[in-house]
C-alpha cells in the first residue's frame, strides 16, 4: 500500500472533523426539527384547546349577555311600551353597557317573532323563524356575524313569555376579546356559520379555520440555536483552521522539512551537516527528538561514513602506498601511468627509476632493520627532492620511480640531480652504516604518446643499470648507446645467466695472466668468467649487473668455482699455476661459498690460491667477512683487495680485513700517465703507503709499456692488463 502523506492525512483529518461537524449539525438540525414539530404539534393542540375554550367562553359569555339582556327591566319595558324602542336600541342599551363592542346589532321581537322596529343600519332579521324558547345561535350569512336569539320573559321564572331578543355579534371580534390567545392565530380567523339556529355555538359553526401562532420563543430559541450553532461552527472552523495551521506548522511542515532534509541528505550522503532546527517557535518535542535523533544518527552516520571513507581511503592508500616508506607502490604506479596515458600526458613524460646501490649487501650486512631505515631515508629524501605534485613510487625492495609529466631532459636532469644531492646530503651513519649510500637513476623520456609503460620502464631500467656501472654518472638518460645493455637485461640474457649458473658448460673461464715485476713472468692467473650465449660470449660487464640485479652473486660465485674446479680437474690450468678467483661481497659472507672455497683449497693444496674481493663492492659485514677471509687464509688462500681507488673503503678494508694483495684499479694506474703530476703523486704515494704496510700491490689495466714502466718504478709487485694478455 502506498504510504499516505502527512499533509493528506491532516487534510483527511480536517475533512473528517468537518464531516463530523456537518453530521452533528445535521443531527442537531434534525433534532431541532423534531423538537419543533413536537412543539408545533403541542402548540396546535394548545391552539385547538384555546379555540375550543374561546368558543366555550364565547358561548357562555353570549348566554350570560343575552340572559342579562333578557332579564333587564328596560328590555321588558320596550316589549311592553315600544314607543321609545329605537332610542333604546340605538342608545340606551349601549349606554347602559348591556351590549359590548362586539355586538353590532340588537333587536327585540314580539311574542309572534315580529321585529319591533326594522333597523336602520345593521341588518337584523325581521322575523324569527321557529321562535326560540331558549338561546339559539345562527350565522348571519356573511361568515362573520353571529345571531344570538333569546327569549324574554316577564317573570324571573321564565314562565311568562314576553317576546324575543336578538343580538348580532361580530364573531371574530368577540372571539379575540373573549380571551388571550397564546397559540392560536386568530387574526386570520375564518369561520363558516350555519344559517340554521342551533342550541349551541359549536353547532352553529360549520367550519372554523385558524393558524397556530408562530412560537416566538421557539423561533427565538431556534434562531439562538442556529446562531449559536453557526457561531459554534464558525468557532470550530476557526479552531479547525487554526488547528490545521498549527498542525501544519507544528507537525506537517516540520515533517515535510525533515522528509525533505532526509531526501536531501539521502541524495548527498556525504553531507555531514546536521538537520537544521526549524526556525519555528512552535516546536514539537517529539519531532525535535526525531529531528535531533535523526540528526545525531546522521552525524554518527556521516562520521561513520567519514571513518569508512577514511578507512577506505586508508585502504586505498595502503593499497597504493608502501607501508614502509609511505611512497606510492607499484599498483599506484601502474594506475597513475594508465591515468597519464588516458589523459594524454605520455607525449613528454620522464620516467625516473631509482635503485639503491648495494642495497642487498647493506641489508645482509647490517640487517633488515637498518635496511628498512635506509630505504625510508631514501624515500624521504627523494620525496623532498621531487617537485610538488610529483609522486614517488616504490616498485620493489630498493627500487623507486617517479613520473614527470610534461617534462624534458633539462627538467628531468634537474630533478635527478636534486635527488642525488638529497641522498648524498643525508647522513646514513646515524643508522650505523660505515659506508656511503648512493642511488643510481635511470631516466627515460617518452617521445610520443604511444609509448607504453613497459617500453619506457625498460629504457629507464637500462639507463639505471648503466648508471650503476662504475665510472658512470649516477643518473643516466636512456639513449641508443646503451641499447646493448638492453640485451643484457633482456629475458634472453637473464636466461643465459641462469643457464650459466646451472650448467657449467655455459660458463667459460678465461684466465688472465698476472705477471710478477719486474721479471715479467706469469705469477698466477685471474679467473674471468664468460657466458656462452649462442655463438657469442657475454663479458662480465654484460652479465654481472644481471647477477647483481637478480641477487645471484653467491650462485654465480659457486658456478665459477665449479667451472674453475672443472678446469683444474681437466688440466686446463697447470697444477703449478696460481689462481685468483673473484668473490662477490655477498659471497664472502656466505657460508656455502666459503665452504666451497675451503673444499677447493683442500684439493688444490699445492696451488697458489688468491681470493679477490672487489673494493667497489660494499662489504657491510666486515667482521664476518674478515673472519671468513681469515679462515680462507688459514687454509692457504691469499686475499687480494681488488679495484682499489674505485670503491668505497679500501683503506678501511685494509685496516679491518686480512689482505695480502692490493690491486690498484685501472683508473688509478691510468692516473700514472696523467699530465697532472699531483694525480701521479697521489697514486704513487698511495702505492708507497700500501706497499710500505706490507701489502703486495698489483697494477691493473697495464695496457702500455708506459704503464708498465710507471708501475715498475713505483714498486708494484704485479701487473695485469692487456699488455700481458686478455
Amino acid at each position: 500500500m502506498k504510504p499516505i502523506k502527512v499533509s493528506h492525512l491532516s487534510l483527511a483529518f480536517v475533512g473528517l472533523i468537518l464531516f463530523a461537524l456537518l453530521g452533528l449539525g445535521t443531527l442537531m438540525w434534525l433534532e431541532l426539527g423534531q423538537l419543533t414539530s413536537r412543539i408545533r404539534s403541542q402548540e396546535t393542540q394548545a391552539a385547538h384547546q384555546e379555540v375550543s375554550d374561546g368558543l366555550a367562553r364565547m358561548e357562555s359569555s353570549l348566554r350570560d349577555r343575552v340572559e342579562a339582556l333578557g332579564r333587564w327591566d328596560e328590555t321588558r319595558q320596550q316589549l311592553i311600551y315600544p314607543d321609545y324602542y329605537v332610542m333604546w336600541r340605538d342608545l340606551r342599551v349601549r349606554d347602559a353597557g348591556m351590549l359590548p363592542a362586539y355586538v353590532s346589532g340588537v333587536a327585540l321581537y314580539d311574542k309572534q317573532g315580529h321585529i319591533l322596529v326594522e333597523p336602520r343600519g345593521e341588518f337584523m332579521p325581521s322575523e324569527l323563524v321557529g321562535l326560540p324558547g331558549r338561546i339559539q345561535f345562527s350565522g348571519a350569512g356573511d361568515d362573520r356575524h353571529l345571531y344570538v336569539f333569546f327569549p324574554v320573559h316577564a317573570d324571573p321564572d321564565g314562565t311568562i313569555p314576553l317576546g324575543h331578543g336578538a343580538i348580532k355579534v361580530d364573531f371574530p371580534l368577540q372571539f379575540r376579546l373573549i380571551r388571550a390567545y397564546r397559540y392560536a392565530d386568530i387574526q386570520g380567523l375564518k369561520i363558516q356559520l350555519r344559517a340554521q339556529a342551533s342550541g349551541s355555538l359549536a353547532a352553529a359553526i360549520s367550519r372554523i379555520d385558524y393558524d397556530t401562532l408562530p412560537n416566538q420563543n421557539l423561533a427565538n430559541i431556534k434562531e439562538v440555536l442556529q446562531v449559536a450553532f453557526m457561531r459554534l461552527l464558525a468557532a470550530m472552523l476557526l479552531i479547525l483552521a487554526l488547528g490545521a495551521w498549527f498542525f501544519k506548522r507544528a507537525l506537517v511542515s516540520p515533517l515535510n522539512r525533515i522528509s525533505r532534509d532526509i531526501d536531501k541528505l539521502k541524495n548527498a550522503p556525504g553531507d555531514s551537516r546536521s538537520l537544521v532546527p526549524l526556525e519555528n517557535p512552535m516546536r514539537v518535542q517529539e519531532l525535535e527528538n526525531v529531528r535531533r535523533s535523526f540528526s545525531e544518527y546522521h552525524e554518527k552516520l556521516a562520521l561513520l561514513r567519514k571513518d569508512l571513507e577514511k578507512s577506505s581511503q586508508d585502504f586505498f592508500d595502503q593499497a597504493r602506498h608502501d607501508a614502509l616508506t609511505g611512497a606510492f607502490n607499484r599498483r599506484a604506479f601502474d594506475e597513475d601511468w594508465r591515468a597519464l596515458a588516458d589523459a594524454g600526458y605520455l607525449g613528454k613524460c620522464a620516467l625516473l627509476l631509482f635503485d639503491c646501490d648495494h642495497f642487498k649487501t647493506i641489508n645482509d650486512s647490517y640487517g633488515h632493520g637498518v635496511g628498512d631505515l635506509v630505504i625510508q631515508a631514501i624515500a624521504t629524501n627523494l620525496t623532498h627532492a621531487l617537485r610538488t605534485g610529483d609522486r614517488l613510487y616504490r616498485l620493489g625492495g630498493d627500487e623507486f620511480a617517479t613520473m614527470l609529466p610534461n617534462s624534458d631532459t633539462p627538467s628531468a636532469e634537474a630533478v635527478a640531480e636534486r635527488c642525488l644531492h638529497h641522498i648524498q646530503s643525508h647522513d646514513f651513519r646515524r643508522y650505523g652504516l660505515m659506508e656511503p649510500v648512493s642511488v643510481s637513476i635511470g631516466i627515460a623520456l617518452s617521445e610520443h604518446s604511444a609509448f607504453n609503460l613497459h617500453e619506457l620502464h625498460s629504457q629507464a631500467d637500462l639507463a639505471m643499470y648503466s648508471a650503476k656501472r662504475p665510472g658512470n654518472r649516477k643518473f643516466v638518460f636512456y639513449s641508443g648507446d646503451i641499447d646493448g645493455m638492453a640485451n643484457l637485461v633482456s629475458n634472453i640474457r637473464v636466461n643465459a645467466v641462469y643457464n650459466a649458473i646451472q650448467n657449467a658448460d655455459a660458463l667459460q673461464m678465461h684466465y688472465q695472466p698476472i705477471v710478477a715485476l719486474p721479471a715479467n713472468h706469469t705469477a698466477y692467473v685471474e679467473a674471468l668468467a664468460r657466458i656462452r650465449h649462442g655463438d657469442d660470449l657475454l663479458m662480465p660487464g654484460e652479465f654481472l649487473t644481471i647477477v647483481e640485479a637478480h641477487r645471484l652473486d653467491v650462485e654465480f660465485d659457486l658456478a665459477v668455482l665449479r667451472s674453475v674446479e672443472s678446469d683444474m680437474r681437466i688440466g686446463r690450468l697447470a697444477a703449478d699455476t696460481g689462481l685468483s678467483i673473484n668473490v662477490s661481497p655477498t659471497g664472502i659472507v656466505d657460508e656455502s661459498l666459503i665452504g666451497a672455497l675451503l673444499d677447493l683449497k683442500e684439493h688444490q693444496a699445492q696451488r697458489k690460491m688468491i681470493i679477490e674481493i672487489t673494493e667497489n663492492a660494499l662489504i657491510t659485514q666486515i667482521y664476518r667477512a674478515s673472519e671468513n677471509l681469515r679462515r680462507l687464509r688459514e687454509v692457504g688462500y691469499l686475499v687480494a683487495l681488488d679495484d682499489l681507488g674505485s670503491g668505497y673503503s679500501s683503506l678501511r678494508y685494509l685496516s679491518c680485513m686480512p689482505v695480502d694483495l692490493v690491486k690498484f684499479d685501472i683508473s688509478m694506474i691510468h692516473q700514472l700517465v696523467s699530465d697532472d703530476p699531483k694525480k701521479r703523486l697521489v697514486v704513487g704515494e698511495i702505492a708507497n703507503i700500501v706497499s710500505a704496510n706490507g701489502y703486495q700491490i698489483v697494477a691493473e689495466g697495464v695496457e702500455t709499456e708506459e704503464h708498465l714502466s710507471r708501475v715498475v718504478a713505483l714498486g708494484f709487485n704485479y701487473a695485469q692488463g692487456y699488455l700481458f694478455g686478455r
Binding site: 327591566d73 328596560e74 319595558q77 347602559a96 324571573p156
Partner: protein
C-alpha cells in the same frame, strides 16, 4: 323602658336577620296592572291583631332597597302585616332599580294608581287598619295618593324623609322647565327630556313623566300636607342633606306631626334604621284593630 325593650327587640331582629332566619314567611305577590304590566310585591300577612302596612320605596327604587327591606323585616318581625310593592314604572315584573338614564315614561299618576290597587288588594284581604309608609319621593307619592283618593281606607300615612321632586337649580329654572315640558306636551313632542332631577344627574323622561313629578313643588307638598295633616306623620333625619333649606321647618308648619331622628341621614341607614323602626312602631301602636 319601652325604648330599652324595643332596642332589645331590634337587636334580636338583627341577629335573626344575620342568621338568615326569616322572621315571617315572605310571599311574593303580583298584580296585573294592565294586561301586559304586572307589578310584584313582598308580602307578609302579619298577625291579625296588628295593622297592615304598605311600604313604598323611593324614586326609581324597589322594595329591595335597604331602608324598605329593613322596615319590612322589622315590622313583619313585630307581627305587622307588611306589603312592600315595587312600582312597575311601566315595566312588568320590575325587579331592579330603574336607572336615571332609562327611558322613563311612567308618571306619578301611574304610581298612585298602582298604590291604590295595592291598597285595595290589602283591603280585600284584611280588615285591619292600613297604614302607608313611604320613603323619600315615595312619601310624596303617598301624599299625592291621599290627595287623589280621598276615600282611601288608609288610616295613617307615614312619610319618611319626604321630599319634593325638583330640578336642580333655582325655582325660576324649575318653573321654566315646567312650562317647557307643558309646551312639549301640547306640541305632541314625546321625545324624552334629559334633566337633572332629584338625585338623578340625568333623568331621561318623556315630558309627561317629568312634568308629573315636577308639578309636585314644595309649595304643593306643603299645601297637601296641611290638607291631610290628620293622617300624616313625617319622620325626618336630623342630618338629611338632600333636603332643601327650611324644608323640615316648612313641614312642621303644615301641622303635620314631624318626628326627627337626630343624626340620621336621608336613608336612615346604619344604626338609625332602628330608630326609624322604633319611631314607626311607635306610630303604629296607637292604631287599634277592630
Amino acid at each position: 323602658m319601652i325604648t330599652i325593650r324595643l332596642g332589645v327587640g331590634m337587636l334580636l331582629l338583627a341577629f335573626m336577620q344575620l342568621a338568615g332566619w326569616p322572621l315571617a314567611r315572605a310571599e311574593r305577590v303580583s298584580m296585573t296592572m294592565r294586561p301586559d304590566l304586572t307589578a310584584i310585591a313582598e308580602y307578609r300577612a302579619g298577625r291579625a291583631d296588628k295593622p297592615v302596612v304598605l311600604i313604598l320605596h323611593g324614586f326609581l327604587q324597589t322594595a329591595d332597597s335597604p331602608v324598605i327591606f329593613s322596615l319590612t323585616e322589622g315590622l313583619a318581625g313585630e307581627g305587622y302585616g307588611v306589603l312592600a310593592p315595587t312600582m312597575t314604572l311601566g315595566i312588568t315584573h320590575r325587579r331592579t332599580s330603574l336607572a336615571c338614564e332609562a327611558i322613563h315614561t311612567h308618571t306619578l299618576n301611574d304610581d298612585i294608581v298602582e298604590i291604590d290597587r295595592w291598597v285595595q288588594w290589602l283591603k280585600r284581604r284584611h280588615n285591619r287598619p292600613i297604614v302607608l309608609i313611604g320613603h323619600s319621593l315615595g312619601s310624596l307619592t303617598l301624599l299625592a295618593y291621599l290627595d287623589r283618593y280621598a276615600a282611601t281606607p288608609v288610616r295613617k300615612t307615614i312619610g319618611v324623609s319626604i321630599m319634593e321632586g325638583r330640578l336642580t337649580g333655582n325655582p325660576q329654572d324649575q318653573e321654566k322647565s315646567i312650562l317647557d315640558l307643558k309646551q312639549r306636551i301640547r306640541n305632541g313632542q314625546r321625545e324624552p327630556v334629559r334633566q337633572p332631577y332629584s338625585f338623578c344627574s340625568t333623568f331621561n323622561a318623556v315630558p309627561e313623566s317629568l312634568l308629573s313629578y315636577l308639578e309636585w313643588s314644595p309649595a304643593r307638598v306643603m299645601a297637601m300636607s296641611r290638607k291631610h295633616k290628620s293622617r300624616l306623620i313625617y319622620i325626618m333625619g336630623g342630618r338629611d342633606d338632600r333636603l332643601g333649606p327650611g324644608w323640615v321647618e316648612g313641614l312642621v308648619k303644615t301641622g303635620v306631626t314631624v318626628r326627627i331622628i337626630p343624626g340620621a341621614n336621608h336613608f336612615m341607614d346604619g344604626e338609625y334604621e332602628f330608630d326609624l323602626l322604633e319611631s314607626v312602631i311607635g306610630e303604629l301602636k296607637g292604631l287599634r284593630v277592630e
